[in-house]
Amino acid sequence: MEGCSKLLDLIPKDREWLLRRDKQRSHGCSEEKNLELRLGPPGGGGDEDIGSGEREDSMLSLGYFSNNNTCGAKRGFKDTVGLPAMAKESSQPCCNKVVDPSEKKKAFSPASADTAVLNSSQKKTAPASVVGWPPIRSFRKNLASSSSFKQALESQNAVPSKVSGEKPVESCQKGFFVKINMDGVPIGRKVDLAAYDSYEKLSIAVDELFRDLLAAQRDTSAGVIQNKQKGERAITGLLDGNGEYTLVYEDNEGDRVLVGDVPWHMFVSTVKRLRVLKSSELHSLCLESKQEKIPLHADYK
């Protein structure tokens, strides 16, 4: 049971114990006074071992004891159809953790300990994540944003390299569909924000999406949807307030915001749905364009 007790040594039972052991292993007795200083409140000092010890503890608590965010994510998912925005939220803390999961591994094999066992089995698994672990088939991954399913499948089909490890597919980056509704058009659509990288492109896409629908709505006399030559007008000025319509979005806090005010990536990370509203109605709310939020009105659709 030699191996067993060695492993138990590594697992911190309380912070104090871990600090003491780290101290004994990596520093001489002359560091006693440093130890005393460190047994105060956390976060102090530049001593790396202590720092890493605290980080290890906090990493442990993040991993095992904290409340999960997924419950919050579920609430968001229920609200809107197929909307990965909330999933993005929940994946953000996860993304952060992915950044240095090797920190967590330190809890079990700190540099100062001599466990050949762990070192050997982790020899090839130093990178952030390991190929084929957890053992889930690729089509079961990325369920948090189901609309990115197909894209995730395609990325998994690429030949994985064992050395670099399988990169965790981040659901925040693949296929991000948000609902978009337009005033006067009963049929809503969906746009894939991952396909654009600027407001201009989004604006063009919105125009293309709704142009014929709008024309069909206008043309009440004909029962048939007109072909593209007739009755269609481009929808312009969505972003600058000059057009007949303006693009607005609802963010993760439920507020309505003019599209275009914040940097693109920030917009993508907080948008929940889009609306194309008649500009005339906007003015009645006395909007300024910069960073101002429109309060939700009950009579607003």
Binding site: C4, Y64, C94, V117, R137, P168, P186, G188
Partner: protein
């Protein structure tokens, strides 16, 4: 193979002469043996004596090949000349998790080529983890009696292969595509089924990631009165589902497709009464799908819940509350697959209602080793207390305790399959911080019927001593990131008398441990060891001592192996020597 059966005695001079006694005995034997269905019984019968061997070979209708490289197609099909149903398994399971480079093998082509000569009367085929091409499917479709095709975890074909099967197999009753990778050749294969009434009984294509032409599907369902099993892919919206269901109220197994509206949502449109469609399906016992579920539609399934024996929510991101609203009606449920989004509370609801549960699978919505899985030992304990008849469990989590696992071993003595995946590697009992040895030890000790075990979490050699000592019936063992030394593997190879399939990854087992299994490798289907501490020399030793063992060294990349350590060892017995189709990254020692 000694197939020299004496020809039937010709009658002499027109007078009837009774066949010689030997022949009578063989005829009788054949008549009797045809009642033997279990493979194990048949294998035993075949060992009695030569005539029994012959008789059994001629009466075996179902041929099962557990490892496509263990025997050449010719040998298998010449022995069992009259088989009409064939099952072949190809790649080892770890290939599912990208641990094996693509193009490793398991090609179906040599089999179907031989079948085209020997097995033209073939009726049923089931392939698992095989590489199947469109041409193979085309050849299959030409067999006049072919009626049942089941492909599980296969790849290599596309919708064009499906189109050929659909159009040419006139007697097709079953087309089950389960977890396959199907390339989109942009062919509307559903439209390729011939006009007129079909004899389709089962059409499962939920894994096919290609849009389908719905109207063709609707017409197909309408003209398939025998259709009992229908599992749609996620390109079928809930409105389309409705239209199909009202045409097929006789369904017993339904995969619902996306279970959400299609992209174009008409706001103000009247939606059909989905629950009435479910209500009309009086025979529905198995429900799955929910690929892109909008939970608002869940109540539609209430009418069928009381009859369900199998429910698969493993793609449905639903909460505990949403699950509770459904599961409380599912008293007869025996098989339940779910996502961990339902949390421990959801599992508690399952435990409270599903007293007949036999199989539970809890999948993670976020399958990364540092995700925050919302299910834990609490859920496992609840299930063990509520579902005493549990036989099979697959459970992904991050936090587990020995106590919960021990409790399950005591509460659920019927367990046959226990697969626990603690996703963080080397994680101990999160309460006591001890290794998970005692938990797994209790499982092998108390669950006397256990045949399949998958371990995880922090495990020392002690866990393996338990497994070796108490795992009397264990046939399949999966080990990952576990153990301290060679001793661990030695315990297993010296114990576990029934061990057939051993798959190990990232564990510190080396050549010395490998040697201890020499006495049993011929009795195993395969051994897989990847990222362990095996050396090329050690593996070569094994290969030299065991000539009927095919010892494959698989390298992840095509570069020189640096320190003589073997990336992946995959070895298996074979009656016909090493395969001829090994790719360059495979070295057969």
């Amino acid at each position: 193979m000694r197939e020299d059966r004496p020809p039937p005695t010709p009658s002499r001079g027109g007078a009837y002469s009774p066949p010689p006694p030997d022949q009578v005995l063989e005829n009788v034997l054949e008549h009797v043996l045809q009642f033997l269905t279990f493979r194990r019984d048949r294998n035993a019968a075949a060992l009695v004596c030569r005539s029994w061997h012959r008789a059994e070979a001629l009466t075996r209708l179902e041929l099962f090949i557990g490892n496509c490289y263990a025997v050449a197609p010719r040998r298998a099909m010449e022995r069992f000349r009259r088989a009409t149903a064939v099952t072949i398994k190809g790649k080892p399971r770890f290939a599912d998790f990208n641990l094996m480079p693509p193009d490793w093998g398991a090609n179906f082509t040599p089999w179907v080529t031989f079948m085209a000569q020997c097995y033209r009367a073939l009726e049923k085929l089931c392939l698992k983890r095989m590489f199947v091409t469109d041409e193979d499917l085309e050849l299959l479709a030409s067999f006049p009696s072919f009626r049942e095709l089941v492909l599980i975890c296969c790849d290599g074909f596309g919708t064009s292969g499906l189109a050929v099967v659909a159009s040419k197999c006139r007697k097709l009753r079953v087309l089950d595509l389960i977890e396959d990778e199907v390339t989109d050749d942009e062919i509307d294969w559903i439209s390729c089924f011939p006009e007129g009434e079909t004899c389709l009984e089962s059409l499962i294509f939920d894994c096919v990631e290609c849009p389908i032409y719905f109207e063709a599907l609707e017409r197909l369902v309408a003209r398939s009165p025998s259709l009992k099993k229908l599992k749609l892919n996620r390109y079928v919206s809930i409105v389309q589902l409705y239209r199909l269901m009202i045409r097929a109220p006789q369904l017993t197994h339904l995969g619902t497709g996306s279970f959400s509206p299609s992209e174009i949502v008409a706001q103000g449109d009247q939606e059909p009464d989905y629950s009435s469609a479910f209500d009309a399906c009086r025979s529905l016992v198995c429900l799955s799908g929910f690929r892109e579920i909008v939970p608002d539609y869940l109540p539609a399934i209430y009418p069928v819940c009381a009859n369900l024996t199998s429910l698969n929510f493993s793609y449905a991101n639903i909460s505990a509350e949403q699950l509770r609203s459904v599961i409380r009606y599912c008293h007869k449920l025996q098989i339940f697959w779910v996502l961990d989004t339902v949390c421990d509370a959801g599992l508690q609801a399952v435990a409270a209602t599903c007293k007949d549960l036999r199989e539970l699978r809890v999948f993670p919505i976020d399958a990364r080793e540092d995700s925050e899985a919302p299910v834990s030992d609490v859920g496992l304990l609840a299930i063990s207390e509520g579902c005493r008849k549990l036989q099979s469990i697959l459970y992904f989590c991050q936090r587990m305790t020995n106590a919960a696992v021990i409790a399950m071993s005591e509460n659920c003595p019927e367990l046959v399959v226990f697969r626990l995946c603690i996703m963080g590697r080397h994680l101990p009992d999160h309460v006591t911080r001890e290794p998970m040895d005692e938990g797994f030890g209790a499982i092998v000790k108390n669950c006397k019927k256990l045949t399949r075990l998958a371990t995880s979490g922090l495990l020392t050699d002690r866990a393996f001593s338990y497994i070796g000592q108490y795992g009397k019936l264990v046939r399949t063992l999966s080990v990952a990131f576990a153990g301290d030394s060679d001793t661990g593997l030695k315990y297993v190879l010296e114990g576990c008398p029934r061990l057939q399939k051993l798959e190990i990854r990232d564990s510190p087992f080396g050549d010395s441990a490998l040697r201890t299994g020499l006495h049993r490798y011929y009795n195993m289907r395969f051994l897989w060891m990847s990222s362990c501490r095996l050396t090329r020399r050690g593996c070569k030793e094994i290969a030299q001592q065991m000539p009927h063992l095919v010892v494959e060294m698989i390298n992840g990349e095509e570069e020189e192996v640096k320190d003589d350590y073997v990336d992946t060892l995959y070895m298996y017995r074979s009656l016909d020597g090493p395969r001829a189709d090994a790719p360059s990254f495979v070295t057969i020692l």
